[in-house]
């Protein structure tokens, strides 16, 4: 276990180093000179050179990379071109909203996915099963911005049940969280269905039926316990999908998280913010994958760590 943990941590650290190399490399692809972006258009050549020297951008590339990583480790993601603020501060102040949105999305994913998957598995090949499968396909085929705008139109504009946009109360959270969670719900319903179908084939299920337990009881007590394990183990892997989804959903609903921050940065080509959010998202994904790997054997003792 300890050896596995050490190896897994080392692999994650290596990936993070790779991530930093790529984000560092990407900044060289930017056609605009970052020094000019900071100095402004009217700066004299002398002032531009001063800033370049201050930022260490006149040093050799390996030195620049080391400076970049040193700053990253200290939590310094650079300064926004437009907002004249530390990128790390901006992200820090907006991260809680995004985490709240993700928690809501996980809630809806599971709320939709598990019952739908269980129902489909127990009525395999029948109409309900088909309906669940089509829903799950529709869920992954609908762009989140279309779904978000649709929900907004129906439930906020026509019916007036929820506010159009904003942040603060539970009713603000429901539509964006549902938008982010529906695709995952479709995905979970498929996973739950196949996992349940597999479990229901086992001998102990037949035994439970043979001793006279009712159908729902067999499925919910004996089946669910085992079928749910591989599904729950996947929650950590959702983070990547959410990090991308947050950009779209937060921009549609005016949710003040890091996705909206990235979206605003896109409109103004504020590269440091885009890079900062990408970096934070990559770190979150690495942590999520690590957690998914580490918790899987805790949830399901049959999984052995290698």
């Amino acid at each position: 276990m300890l050896r596995y943990l050490a190896r897994r941590l080392a692999a994650s650290a290596l990936i993070l180093i790779g991530v930093s190399v790529i984000t560092f490399g990407l900044t060289f692809l930017i056609p605009a000179d970052p020094v000019r972006m900071i100095a402004g258009r009217s700066a004299s050549p002398q002032a531009v050179e001063n800033i370049r020297h201050q930022l260490g951008l006149d040093k050799p590339i390996p030195v620049q990379y080391m400076n970049y990583v040193t700053k990253l480790v200290q939590g310094d993601l650079g300064r926004s071109y437009v907002q004249k603020a530390e990128v790390s501060r901006l992200i820090e102040s907006r991260l809680p909203a995004t985490l709240l949105l993700m928690a809501g999305a996980i809630f809806f994913e599971i709320l939709i996915g598990l019952p739908a998957g269980i129902l489909a598995a127990t009525r395999r090949g029948r109409l309900l099963d088909r309906a669940v499968m089509i829903f799950s396909f529709a869920g992954v085929s609908t762009p989140q911005f279309v779904l978000g705008l649709l929900l907004l139109y129906v439930f906020a504009n026509l019916l007036g049940w929820f506010p159009l946009s904003g942040f603060g109360t539970l009713s603000h959270l429901i539509l964006p969280a549902l938008t982010l969670g529906i695709a995952g719900g479709g995905w979970y319903s498929r996973m739950m269905r196949s996992s349940m179908i597999e479990v229901l084939h086992h001998d102990y299920i037949r035994t439970a039926r043979a001793k006279g337990l009712s159908g729902p009881k067999v499925v919910l007590v004996h089946g669910l316990r085992n079928a749910i394990l591989p599904v729950i183990a996947m929650v950590g892997l959702d983070i990547g999908i959410f990090m991308s989804g947050a950009v779209v959903v937060e921009s549609v609903f005016g949710w003040p998280g890091i996705g909206q921050l990235a979206w605003l940065a896109i409109q103004r080509i504020d590269i440091p913010i885009i890079m900062g959010v990408t970096l934070v998202a990559a770190v979150a994904i690495v942590i999520g994958n690590l957690l998914a790997d580490l918790t899987a054997p805790l949830i399901d003792p049959r999984i052995r760590l290698r």
Binding site: V19, L26, I269
Partner: protein, 282 residues
């Protein structure tokens, strides 16, 4: 092949999907002939007296957009954008992913390890954010968007192909081929690649759905295909601030994106079932 086709043709969802793909492709190809109007023409009577877009009526079948252009014609031309990107970007992603996956799976050693660690690294980036970063750096055009999507999408295919190749490479017939003195490119392309074609086909089909959605999302964020080229995501981007008063400008392109992605997902999934009977009904 005939067997696969027979299985596919018995699956109603696959048939619906294939019919939809055929219909969209024909509509996109024949757009210049079947579109009622020029998609770029701004009609004087395409706006209300107050300058608002028109809802669907007899003249403008699906209504008009903010500039008084016919939405139906724009959607037809938008289908071309989606299909071109779907085929080009996904084709490139499948080619790169297959090549890297097959080489990593067969060569193993440090080359294989390096390729696979690189795919691990790419998996750590959220696809959309990486695409956004790339699209923000390069000035977006149709080909840049296709390239960005390909750069992001090859990763999963590479992993799947890698896994299958390692399994195939351990088979005895490969050892036999090697014993007979076959060079590795010959083994890769003559003995291994043909066995991977079903997988490639499935991923190529499912990948088009992913690509269409990613392109629509980039366009919606304003960093996809740029106007005046009509694209479905772009139409929604242009009109989103008016969507409460002109919802058709969001719904019709939104439905178009969804139908296209759904069709490719249905066919891809049915193809997977048809090509791999052991997975049937899972």
């Amino acid at each position: 092949m005939a067997y696969t086709w027979r299985r596919l043709s018995k699956d109603p969802l696959a048939l619906v999907g294939m019919a939809t793909i055929a219909a969209i492709s024909i509509a996109a190809l024949s757009a210049p002939w079947i579109a009622p109007f020029d998609p770029r023409e701004q009609f004087f009577d395409g706006l209300t007296l107050e300058g608002a877009p028109l809802p669907p009526d007899e003249m403008f079948f699906l209504g008009t957009d903010l500039l008084g252009r016919d939405l139906f014609s724009r959607l037809l031309y938008g289908a071309r954008t989606s299909l071109v990107i779907g085929v080009v970007a996904n084709g490139a992603a499948v080619a790169v992913g297959t090549l890297l996956g097959i080489v990593a799976g067969y060569v193993q050693g440090w080359v294989g390890a390096a390729i696979m660690r690189f795919t691990d690294l790419m998996m750590a980036f959220p696809a959309l954010l990486l695409a956004i970063a790339l699209a923000a750096i390069f000035t977006p055009s149709l080909w840049i968007v296709a390239m960005v999507i390909a750069l992001v999408n090859w990763v999963q295919i590479a992993r799947v192909i890698y896994t299958e190749t390692t399994a195939l490479a351990a088979r005895e017939y490969i050892e036999a081929a090697r014993a007979l003195g076959a060079a590795w490119p010959r083994i890769l392309f003559l003995h291994i690649l043909p066995h991977l074609i079903p997988t490639i086909l499935v991923w190529a089909t499912l990948g088009i759905a992913t690509t269409v959605l990613l392109e629509a999302t980039l366009s919606f964020l304003g960093i996809g295909v740029q106007p005046p080229t009509p694209s479905w995501g772009g139409i929604i981007f242009e009109s989103q601030s008016y969507f409460l008063s002109a919802p058709w400008l969001v719904f019709f392109p939104g439905i178009a994106i969804m139908v296209m992605a759904l069709a490719f997902n249905l066919v891809g999934d049915a193809l997977r079932d048809a090509l791999d009977p052991t997975q049937r009904g899972r």
